[in-house]
């Protein structure tokens, strides 16, 4: 699973901590997501998409190995 959280964060100029607090997870979780070490639950993916006011598919995309 690939995602553009890092890019979206840069556009909004917010830190990992800001995003983590906004969607109710730990900062390490955002870190793991950005490093593609963790595939979020549908709930968390939708929370993140809602926060950036974009559809889920605009931020999350299937990778080759999925």
């Amino acid at each position: 699973m690939k995602n553009t959280i890092h890019v979206e964060r840069a556009i909004k100029r917010i830190t990992q901590s800001d995003l983590a607090a906004a969607v109710g997870v730990s900062r390490q979780t955002i870190n793991a997501l950005e490093a593609s070490k963790y595939v979020p639950s549908v709930v968390l993916a939708m929370k993140i998409a809602n926060y950036f006011e974009k559809p889920v598919e605009a931020i999350f995309e299937l990778g080759e190995e999925d």
Binding site: G24, V25, S26, Q28, T29, N31, A32, L33, Y38, V43
Partner: protein, 166 residues
């Protein structure tokens, strides 16, 4: 994000306070470095407080009125276990799905390592040495779990960030 099966976060600090000193005392006791700190048998520095006047089951001492039973080992092992339980199974400050995943993965790791060590001890030791290894192996699963969990959640991200900024 269901983490109901865990203790509240405040137990974690309490757990460390109990677990670390008790773990050190347990290790010192198993190593039998000095009789004063061998809480599992014989006289030690706390004997006078931890010995009660109840005979051990199945001993003749009950008849001759020299009834005593040192509970230091029992108390120490209980505290170590409770301390570990508090540290390992308290919620993190922000407990979420990723942390839960790391927690469950670490439990799996701990079980694998424990099992591996058990099989090694079965084939590489026997008699008294086997029991010595078994008693050490009691600590394997808790310690591997704690080390793996805290490494992934706290230490590794910290090290990576430091590397990224320098």
């Amino acid at each position: 994000m269901d983490t109901k099966l865990l203790l509240p976060n405040r137990y974690k600090r309490l757990g460390w306070l109990i677990f670390v000193p008790c773990l050190i005392l347990t290790i010192l006791s198993i190593l039998q470095l000095t009789p004063a700190l061998s809480f599992f048998d014989g006289e030690h520095i706390l004997s006078q407080w931890t010995t009660i006047k109840v005979p051990e089951k199945g001993t003749l001492e009950a008849i001759f009125d020299e009834t005593s039973n040192d509970l230091a080992g029992e108390i120490l092992m209980t505290l170590t276990a409770i301390g570990f339980f508090f540290v390992a199974f308290s919620r993190e400050r922000t407990d979420d799905e990723w942390i839960m995943k790391v927690r469950l993965e670490s439990l799996l790791w701990a079980f694998y390592v424990h099992l591996g060590a058990f099989l090694l001890s079965v084939w590489l030791s026997f008699s008294l040495a086997f029991y010595a290894v078994l008693s050490w192996n009691m600590l394997t699963a808790p310690l591997v779990f704690l080390a793996r969990f805290h490494w992934i959640v706290y230490v590794k991200p910290y090290l990576e960030e430091r590397r990224a900024t320098t």
